[in-house]
Amino acid sequence: MAGGGSRTNIAVKDIALIGVMTAIIEVSKLALSFLPNVELVSFWIILFSIVFGWRIFFVVPVFVLIEGSIYGFGIWWVMYLYMWPLLAILARIFRRQTSVWFWSCLSGIFGLLFGLGCALPYVVIGTGKSGILGGLYAGFTWWVAGIPWDILHGVSNFVLMLALYKPMRSVMNRLRKQGIAAE
């Protein structure tokens, strides 16, 4: 239990760390909410996934739940249920990568394809109403309408990761060395 080394038992330190990570993500999101589609959520989820490992899979559901509590549980919330965990999974898969360019690309491409992924509920709803072709058309038109925002999302994700990855990664590594968290 102590030290947080076990995956089956969560130490108090882990719970505190999960809370701090969630708070950082939420506050960053609120702070940038005046800039449409420019966000630090992707950056933090990637970084926390790399540095603090399995804890991200507690952080993301809590973050998504808080978002729903603040803004209401609309269709966008269903998108959050799978889009943010998907990013965390991708970051865990590639966690051994150290190139800032790799992570900038991943974050940028995630932003660029965010709308495409989010179109899934519209495909499902459209399919229920007018068959698979109707569903695909509904999802496609919804995605296309939002492409300019996806481009802004992807480019800003790329730039933010490029600017912040190295300094924040070294801070996080230092924290880990001081025993904040163990894998």
Binding site: W101, C105, F140, V144, I147, F158
Partner: protein, 138 residues
């Protein structure tokens, strides 16, 4: 030296990959986005100013409510205070009707009848003729 070369190569590949995806998305958007179509309702909005001069705007619109149709009328400008009932128009084409100053206000008519709704909730139907008149309280 070798390390720098590798980093540069990664940077070029990274930027090229993101840029290529941006270009693909932009092409998809340009080709498949919903093109604006001419509105299906033909309406007229006539402004009668303080000097009783009439200016008529012909608008083709899909607007559900008058406010959006007014916004689409080329050359027509208006402003006012936002309230829980929508915008209370006090200025049309730069001319202000100040009820507190001289009892003047802008009255709205639809097909000759006084509008029962504010501009945010006044429905728009095909062939409607709206009038916006500078009016002095009796």
């Amino acid at each position: 030296m070798e390390e720098t070369k590798k980093t540069n190569k990664k940077a070029v590949i990274g930027i090229a990959a993101v840029a290529a995806l941006v270009v693909i998305l932009a092409i998809v958007y340009v080709v498949f986005r919903q093109k604006p179509v001419e509105g299906s309702k033909a309406i007229t909005i006539t402004v009668v100013n303080k000097a009783a001069e009439e200016t008529t705007y012909e608008v083709k619109t899909d607007a559900e409510y008058l406010r959006q149709a007014m916004e689409e009328a080329e050359g027509l400008t208006f402003s006012g205070a936002e309230s829980e009932y929508g915008m209370m128009v006090d200025t049309v084409n730069g001319e202000r009707a100040d009820y507190n100053l001289d009892g003047a206000y802008w009255s709205f008519y639809i097909n000759g009848e006084y509008c029962n709704y504010g501009i945010d909730t006044q429905p728009v139907a095909d062939k409607d003729a709206f009038s916006i008149c500078y009016t002095l309280a009796q």
